[in-house]
């Protein structure tokens, strides 16, 4: 019955110290978010507005994207459309070729992760430098992000320190985060100044002005785009919002939800190319138009990638991003993975106790938990329901539909209480892995009622 998630989760939990630290650290981010959300009386109204704006935008993608393109071109930008990951990567490569570029400096973009862009460009001989500290650390350690906002959350300072000794020549044994961060600051300064082309993602694309908005705390997107003459900005088409008034709503929700701050340090609006420079915008589909055809799951397009669903998820906190098989973990990842390829990513659907905390924290009111429940119903249809679960469920159905049989079973159930331990607590008993079985009552309620014992 074990899913890939449950196996990976067991490994993560076996390291008790790591699991406890990961859980506590992410809970603190949830607590910081709560402090923020509770200090704004209009919080729930903001969530409602954000959801409504997204539902409007994502049901008018054709008109809004065309409006965006028209305004972006009038601003002097060059607009590209990418049907899928392959086309996206090829567009980026072409721009690099056109400018004889060798080094690309980029800020965080889960979309480029989704498209496998880094691997593609490396294979073509380009040098990609991640400028976000967390992403840079992962790049040096040859790892992938385990959280969409705090990508290196699972890595301890000692590991970072040891790696930087090797890569940057920092002091031996020094794992002070300030020291390490400033060492990277110095090292990255050189990279910013010498990169050929800069690339960013976009948190929002504004239809009425043709500009994009990039939110960072480090200022790495802004530093990165300040020296090269070419800036490529790529975004999934669901990032489109109608106007700047909408930004008022989203900029008040994003950082409060994602990191527990009222706003990110930088909220940068890129509208026109630098003098003598080029500003390329890539609008990416890569399966998003397919989601439009699934009314049950359309709200996943609301996602502003804040990551709070991961912070609040009791399963994610205790199992970490690497336990999930899709590159985005947690509640939104379970849903997006199933939308991408249900057969391949169905293992993640078990990673949920259906507590619904995620649905409650989501700033754009995606019904995350409810959608996971619906995916569970679909597993059998796509041939991914585990046979053990099917048998258990079928067995329960058989029993429960026959009251007489149910009552008989209850009469014999107390015998289980007396069985020798080795018979009950063994490899076949998943419940018994960390818990004692409940004690079956000598007389069921049905029995007691019939015997008039309940007054």
């Amino acid at each position: 019955m074990s899913t890939k998630h449950s196996i990976a989760a067991a490994r993560f939990i076996a390291n008790r110290k790591q699991e406890a630290w990961h859980d506590e650290t992410l809970w603190m981010v949830r607590a910081k978010r709560d402090k923020m959300s509770h200090s704004l009386p209009e919080w729930e109204r903001l969530r409602e507005l954000a959801c409504d704006i997204k539902m409007y935008s994502n049901s008018h993608l054709d008109t809004l994207l065309e409006e965006f393109e028209k305004n972006a071109i009038a601003n002097g930008a060059i607009v590209h459309w990418a049907k899928d990951a392959k086309e996206h990567n090829e567009i980026v490569e072409k721009i690099l070729q056109q400018h004889n570029a060798h080094t690309l400096i980029k800020s965080k973009s889960m979309l480029t992760e989704e498209c496998g862009m880094n691997e593609y460009l490396f294979s073509k001989g380009y040098d990609i430098v991640e400028s976000d500290l967390g992403e840079r650390i992962l790049q040096w350690m040859h790892l992938h992000p385990s959280h969409i906002v705090m990508p290196a959350i699972h890595i301890k300072r000692q590991e970072v320190g040891e790696m930087m000794e090797r890569v940057l020549g920092t002091e031996k044994g020094n794992s002070d985060p300030t020291y390490l961060t400033h060492a990277v600051r110095k090292n990255m300064r050189e990279k910013f100044l010498t990169a050929d082309v800069a690339m960013t993602g976009a948190n929002f694309a504004v239809a009425s002005t043709g500009e994009i908005v990039v939110c960072t705390n480090e200022g790495n997107a802004d530093m990165g785009t300040s020296f090269p003459k070419v800036h490529i900005a790529t975004f999934g088409m669901e990032k489109i919002v109608p106007n700047q008034e909408a930004l008022g709503v989203f900029t008040r929700l994003l950082a409060r939800s994602g990191t527990g701050q009222p706003i990110t340090t930088y909220t940068s609006h890129y509208r026109k190319p630098e003098d003598g420079g080029e500003f390329h915008l890539i609008i990416v589909d890569n399966g998003r138009s397919d989601i439009l055809a699934k009314p049950d799951h359309i709200r996943t397009l609301n996602c502003i990638r804040c990551g709070e669903c991961m912070n609040t998820c009791p399963v994610y906190r205790r199992t970490g991003g690497y336990s999930y098989t899709y590159f985005i973990p947690g509640p939104i990842g379970i849903n997006l993975g199933m939308l991408k390829n249900p057969e391949e990513y169905s293992d993640n659907v078990s990673a949920c106790s259906l507590c619904l905390s995620c649905s409650n924290v989501c700033p754009v009111k995606i019904d995350l938990g409810e959608q996971i429940y619906r995916w569970r119903q679909d597993l059998d249809k796509i041939g991914k329901a585990s046979s053990e679960k099917k048998v258990m469920s079928g067995g329960m159905k058989f029993l429960m539909e026959r009251p007489a049989l149910f009552n008989t079973a209850l009469k014999f159930a107390p015998l289980v209480n007396k069985l020798p331990r080795f018979m009950i607590y063994n490899g076949l008993n998943a419940w018994g892995k960390g818990r004692e079985l409940p004690t079956f009552a000598k007389e069921s309620f049905n029995d007691m009622w019939k015997k008039n014992k309940i007054q």
């Binding site: 259906l354 569970r376 329901a385 469920s393 892995k433 004690t439 009622w449 309940i454």
Partner: protein, 246 residues
């Protein structure tokens, strides 16, 4: 008002005393309560496992069993929430209308919102920590979910305040999931047990002698951890506290 008592499958099998306490409590408050015979299950375990359609016959049976009652009241927030939220959809797919969803209540909901007792004779001189179960909080609104910016309320606390001698506490992570989750408990047992362990420890940190709540499923899972790890705390369903001494 005629009340039909709804006894979920695991209450029938494992915690019949919770059913007894519920009955006694409702009777004490002067209500006309009856138990339609031979109830089995609402279908939630199958649905959570992904076989919602297998709950159809059980949903139909529940409609039949309770059709003559004005209210259906049961001591399980999660089962009641399942009937309320999911039975309509399951039944609609086969062209049936769900009547139960508009008249089914968890017993705490029912007492707090409909009966509104001003006093109870119960005495329970112990420290208890309220377990705010996920379905109770986020589907039945038994208390304000900690994620949302709404004023604090707790129907369980309001009811427990009628009990003499009791000291009411709540854990730090006031409504974090205990890890039962139905099929989740056996499909991801390590995570489930880890969550159960953490939750019990959180309840213990309040200094409470008992963990109490509206969901025996959560209590059963935490009791399993308590017994395996020999932890010094007990579990008790809220109806057993409210009916203490009856």
């Amino acid at each position: 008002m005629k009340i039909g008592l709804f006894i979920p499958c695991y209450i029938n099998a494992v915690y019949p005393e919770v059913g007894v306490a519920s009955y006694k409590l409702l009777k004490h408050l002067g209500l006309d309560v009856d138990y339609p015979l031979d109830q089995t299950c609402c279908g939630q375990p199958m649905a959570n496992a992904g076989f919602e359609n297998e709950s159809l016959k059980l949903a139909l049976r529940m409609e039949d069993l309770f059709k003559q009652y004005d209210y259906v009241v049961g001591p399980s927030a999660s089962c009641v929430a399942f009937v309320k939220e999911n039975h309509p959809g399951i039944l609609e797919k086969s062209g049936h209308v769900c009547l139960n969803s508009s008249k089914i209540y968890d017993i705490c909901e029912f007492l707090h919102d409909v009966v509104k007792p001003e006093e109870l004779p119960s005495v329970f001189p112990h420290k208890v920590s309220i377990h705010n179960s996920c379905h109770g909080v986020r589907e039945l609104h038994l208390s304000s979910p900690s994620e949302m910016n709404i004023p604090y309320f707790s129907k369980l606390r309001d009811l427990l305040q009628l009990v003499k001698g009791i000291e009411i506490l709540e854990p730090k992570r006031i409504d974090e999931c205990c890890g039962f989750g139905g099929m989740f408990a056996v499909e991801e047992p390590e995570v489930s047990v880890c969550m159960g362990h953490d939750k019990v420890k959180d309840h213990m940190s309040t200094g409470a002698e008992y963990i109490t709540g509206a969901d025996s499923s959560c209590l059963m899972h935490m009791q399993g951890v308590i017994e395996r790890e020999h932890l010094p705390i007990k579990t008790i369903h809220i109806t057993q506290i409210l009916a203490a001494g009856l």
